[in-house]
């Protein structure tokens, strides 16, 4: 356990020192400025425009950074034989995977909550300086819950990459497959809703395929930015179940990865 935590700590430290991490924060700050500029095009719902854009940027930056950084770490470990150094310290292959997963958990937390903090502060400030007639009530607590959701979904994506890396060797293939899983997982909730509503008009094959994806794929959809302006949207049993499913799904992928990685022959 001590070894596992030590390994995870080193990985997080290594990532927090990466320039790309700070570059990401600067880029997100710039995107907040861009969102503020786009607000000028709105007529009545000024804060909502800022909220929408900054949230979309937050989600985009978070998932893209997880995709790049996580895939990069795993491929570097395998390509540059870094994994040998770890294994030679007496850490088993399963512990290596668990350590990596733990470090991804902490790292995704760092990114999600640092950017999430900027997002919430930015929204609160922009709303404060909006003319009184258009000002909205911003629920910071709901905002943190939304960021918490994003964090757990980002961690889920990193475990998907961990899982793919446990048996695939090519960095580019892992990256592409993860992108496909992300897109399918983000759209599946809406597609499933569509299948339920328009069931009669859709062919049974498509309907079965969507249902299959809904049951088996990770779900990357999140509550969206609206709960920040209306707390009641968060009080849904669906969201709680979805959150629990994401946690269980991540654990499942971590354990499956450790099983696969144990059997893998490292060149």
């Amino acid at each position: 356990m001590k070894l596992l935590l030590g390994f995870a700590y080193i990985t997080v430290k290594e990532n927090a020192r990466r320039r790309s991490f700070y570059g990401l924060l600067v880029a997100y700050l710039l995107s907040l400025g861009f969102s503020r500029a786009l607000m000028e095009f709105s007529l009545q719902d000024l804060t909502k425009v800022f909220l929408d854009f900054s949230y979309s940027f937050l989600s985009f930056f978070l998932f893209v950074s997880i995709l790049f950084i996580t895939t990069d770490i795993m491929s570097k470990d395998l390509d540059k034989k870094g994994v040998y150094i770890v294994l030679s310290k007496g850490i088993s292959k399963e512990t290596y995977i668990l350590g990596r997963a733990f470090s991804f958990l902490v790292f995704s937390f760092l990114i999600a909550f640092t950017m999430g903090f900027l997002f919430l502060i930015g929204t609160k400030l922009i709303n404060y300086f909006t003319p009184t007639a258009f000002r909205k009530e911003i629920q910071i607590l709901a905002g943190f819950t939304v960021v918490l959701f994003l964090w757990i979904k980002a961690f889920l994506l990193s475990t998907v990459i961990l899982f793919l890396s446990s048996f695939m060797g090519n960095f580019f293939l892992i990256f592409l497959t993860a992108v496909v899983v992300l897109i399918a997982g983000s759209a599946v909730e809406n597609l499933y809703k569509f299948v339920i509503l328009e069931g009669d008009r859709i062919s049974p094959l498509v309907s079965s395929l969507v249902t299959f994806i809904f049951y088996t794929f990770p779900n990357f959809s999140s509550p969206g930015p609206d709960p920040l302006m209306d707390m009641s949207r968060l009080k849904s049993s669906y969201l709680i179940l979805d959150f629990i499913r994401a946690v269980i799904y991540s654990l499942f992928l971590v354990f499956l990865s450790s099983l696969l990685f144990k059997r893998r022959q490292i060149p």
Binding site: S42, L43, D45, F53, N190
Partner: protein, 288 residues
């Protein structure tokens, strides 16, 4: 020397990029009406859901540009074919981001008055009703129903709904307008119930007085309606005037509304008060 050459070459390329951008900016105006600027319902179906919010808002900004260009082109009028394109774009925007108020606001402003897309606007607004807690959404629906679609009953229903929103308190006339529409449709019981309900909620004394006055008028109108039914049973025909009801001793004489206006019966058998009429009609009646 080599670095210097590369630097010069790079600067020349940058200059070319800026020059081309300048030429392109002059041609953008001519391309703005192109259909691709407007969002369509299917365009974000496979895009991750979190990006829908920003992209739908961007689609709305494009729609605004299109409206602006179209108005400029047609000298302040939105052509019906352009309005149909605007409607389909706003439908797509609100499909992906239904809790954004502006598309409904713009839809209501541009798709009704000169264009006539009343039912489409109402359908669009009804989507907003599910997601936005703003009194203006049901107010717009109600207004479209009674003003454009001539459906007073539905209009009154939505105005009644609008009056319930906390933000509508500043606009206390909403329940009065709703009760007026119910009255126009002969739905006096609903109008009376609505006013009684509003009287309990209303805190402002001046508005309470107005509501009480309207309530009194409605109650008197109801008495006349009841008398008309008895009259028909008794004499086998509809009464022609209020005076006939007075002569039959079914209502007291000099029954006036809260503002002192006389009641009368219209040719289609509805009870109206002089004070409810437009000043010109009222003057004509007085001259008679």
């Amino acid at each position: 020397m080599r670095s210097f050459t590369i630097a010069v070459f790079t600067t020349v390329l940058l200059g070319l990029i800026l020059t081309l951008s300048h030429f392109l900016s002059g041609r953008i105006k001519g391309r703005i009406e192109e259909r691709f600027l407007l969002p369509e319902k299917m365009y974000l179906l496979f895009v991750p859901e979190d990006l829908h919010y920003g992209l739908a808002d961007m689609g709305f900004i494009n729609t605004l540009s299109f409206i602006g260009y179209s108005l400029q082109k047609e000298k302040g009028i939105l052509k019906r074919e352009d309005a149909l394109m605007v409607y389909s774009a706003l439908d797509a925007v609100t499909f992906y981001n239904p809790s954004y108020f502006d598309p409904y606001y713009v839809g209501n402003a541009f798709l009704t008055w000169n264009v006539g897309l009343y039912q489409e606007t109402v359908d669009l607004l009804k989507r907003g009703l599910k997601y936005i807690k703003d009194w203006r959404i049901p107010f717009y629906i109600g207004f479209n129903y009674f003003y454009f679609l001539k459906d007073n009953l539905k209009g009154a229903e939505y105005l009644r709904l609008a009056a319930k929103y906390p933000g509508a308190k500043e606009y206390n006339l909403l329940p009065l307008l709703a009760s007026k529409l119910y009255y126009e449709e002969g739905q006096l019981d609903v109008a009376i119930a609505l006013l009684k309900e509003q009287l309990k909620l209303m805190k402002e004394e001046k508005m309470k007085e107005l509501l009480r006055a309207r309530l009194e008028t409605l109650k008197k109108a109801k008495t006349i309606y009841r008398a008309m039914k008895i009259f028909k049973k008794r004499f086998g025909r509809k009464p022609k005037s209020v005076e006939e009801l007075v002569r039959a001793k079914l209502i007291p004489p000099n029954l006036r509304d809260s503002r002192g206006g006389k009641f009368f019966i219209t040719s289609d058998g509805k009870v109206r008060s002089e004070k409810d009429l437009m000043p010109v009609v009222r003057k004509l009646l007085e001259e008679e």
